[in-house]
Symmetry: C2
Subunit: 391 residues, 2 copies
């Protein structure tokens, strides 16, 4: 969640290109309602209300394993998967159990602002490796790995968002996946693959996941229902080695609270087994593809010459690079005055200065008519600021 004062009360006149939220119109459907009613009228509805199995609702685990194996031609056994209360739960639990305060963790530059916040709450030291249009740059990663190993500070893990990256929208190429896993092998690096946008692929399938390619490299793969069903259910999944999943299943919070979100997990398991989720994903891809196209067209039309932006093949985000004489914070502030909400780039970087000329735009949340208008307003602001500082 990218939070802001208006998050809960965006007015009809406000255009939010800020929030990484699914479109509200996609959240409540007859199919979801059907799944709720099936849980309520099941023979033992109380089971969904008791503490849940630590690994997660068995019917949900079965479905997730089947889908992953079918799509990625893997043969994972069910003890390699657990349910989590959204990717937040997974990221936090991984940091808690795999990184001590003061230890090194590598992230991308830029990376997901709220994940950086979670890591900082655990007191870890963050190091960042650049990404470009092909995703994380292996040479940048290797440079950091070499330095950290030379300093006797082996990083506890790499946190990467390989598909439709937040905030840039770029996807890690197939060749780089192999290269990054080779580096992970060489430097004994655990890889945390945050893959919550994977299913929102508009232009054909994404490369195999790092987990599917991993061989014996330790990879933890995070998925979520927040972007493709509903964030309010607080449900996602975590895939890893048998040993790592066992560690999560037996950790303090899992033993204390039981499995993740048992009531909503039961509803989602019904929903998935009825075939509704995969149909819903196809619908979301159509919806968000149209919005992405609309935003790309609007950028093409309204942005001044020296502005650049990514062309995501899925997900929620476009990353804008401003002319060097334009500050993202200034654009954001002026846009806010004109009723357009965007995120400035600083927060996405371990070293905030690296993002001072970037904006993250979101096309998932704004009604289509607002996307064009919002981008037009941004174009005007950027053009004026570029001229003002030139003058």
């Amino acid at each position: 969640v990218q939070s802001h004062p208006l998050a809960q009360g965006v007015t009809a006149n406000t255009i939010s290109l800020l929030l990484g939220h699914p479109d509200p119109s996609t959240l409540f459907t007859p199919e979801f309602q059907e799944a709720v009613q099936r849980v309520l009228t099941s023979p033992q509805p109380y089971q969904a209300l008791q503490y849940g199995a630590e690994q997660g609702a068995p019917a949900l685990i079965d479905y997730l394993v089947e889908k992953f194996n079918r799509e990625q031609a893997t043969s994972l056994s069910r003890d390699r998967v657990m349910a989590v209360a959204g990717s937040t739960h997974a990221v936090d639990m991984i940091a808690r159990l795999y990184a001590n305060a003061g230890e090194a963790v590598i992230v991308e530059a830029p990376s997901y602002v709220d994940a950086l916040h979670v890591f900082r709450d655990h007191g870890v030291e963050l190091y960042s490796a650049a990404i470009d249009e092909q995703g994380l740059v292996p040479e940048a990663l290797e440079q950091i790995l070499r330095r950290l190993h030379r300093d006797n500070r082996p990083p506890r893990f790499l946190y990467t968002i390989p598909n439709f990256h937040n905030p840039t929208g770029v996807t890690l190429s197939a060749a780089r996946r192999v290269e990054i896993l080779r580096l992970a092998q060489q430097y004994q690096l655990m890889v945390v693959e945050d893959d919550v946008y994977r299913d929102l692929a508009f232009d054909g399938p994404v490369p195999a996941s790092l987990l599917a390619l991993a061989g014996d490299v330790p990879v933890l793969h995070i998925g979520s229902f927040s972007k493709t069903l509903a964030p309010g259910l607080r449900l996602g999944w975590l895939i890893g080695s048998r040993e790592s999943i066992q560690r999560f299943v037996q950790c303090g919070t899992t033993e204390m609270g039981g499995g993740a979100s048992p009531f909503t997990a039961q509803i989602v398991a019904e929903y998935c087994h009825l075939g509704h989720w995969e149909a819903h994903i196809a619908h979301l891809c159509d919806l968000y593809r149209a919005r992405r196209d609309m935003m790309l067209a609007a950028l093409q039309q309204h942005m001044p010459d020296r502005v650049q932006w990514t062309k995501p093949a899925g997900g929620f985000f476009i990353w804008v690079t401003l002319p060097e004489n334009v500050q993202a914070r200034g654009v954001k502030a002026e846009a806010l005055r004109r009723g357009v909400l965007v995120a400035a780039g600083e927060g996405y970087f371990v070293n905030p200065a690296e993002g001072e000329h970037n904006l993250r735009l979101t096309y998932s949340f704004a009604p289509p008519e607002n996307i064009e208008r919002g981008v037009r307003v941004l174009g005007e602001i950027i053009e004026r600021q570029a001229k003002a500082t030139h003058a």
Copy 2:
């Protein structure tokens, strides 16, 4: 959750005096179903499926503030309360944000086994202060405080379960609450009050909470719907100073995942505002009071002379102290062979040896007919083991 291999599949012949779970028959009710239907047919049902307000569903916060103020004659403002995904979420978040690895935290001896596990996952150093029939012993607490301050290791907080304590069932007396807050004042100690059993008071109201009595002593008060409505909803609350609640609301996990369990929070808010929860609590008190009375009578009837046990005025648990020549682990193992599940005392202590002659019995989960039979079996085992080691 006290987990064990049979947690999900206790057979008809197994008697579980182990699990701190609510009675399954209390979980799914027409009133709960009514609340679900009201959310599904509300004007904007999709709002419960979006990322939720970081503080928690506003209707739920309103209800919780009103109930707390009404019952404890306080005048808390709503910015002192936030929703959490069960007490697990609260305990974990408090440890994450208030205690670094290696720092000291004080718990009770014994304390809740899974909370100890969560604290250990954060790498904190645990120190424990004895409790007796009146709850935490102030002199024991002061001794540890003096020692830690002398060693220049001021503890980050005290974790206490003042009402119907897990595992012992005892309640902290009113006089000791004042005394403990005086010590907290003197030693600048933050108090974490885990009060998830508070509403299950069978024999009249419990003393005012530490939070209500705190004055300017920092107290974090944890409540939960897990024991009095349904654990599968993953919902509870956290009350503290304005500043501490703001810190939790703005931490990494809250910013990343949004407010706690939005969908179930909306259902529970409906359920509470309809008056169902407080009626349900009254029903639960009747149900569990009868089970407590049954277990106390069975202990009176079946336990050998030198066995002692607590007489809880509410909650789920009775704490049994065995003769010095009987090991709890041996009793637990033999009981398991005879189909009766109980918890041995070691896990509840920072220093496990302190619990080697203790059992925790739970009367909340077992059907009434099993309580008598289970205690009878335990009595036979203890009697035999006491004689065997004497001989």
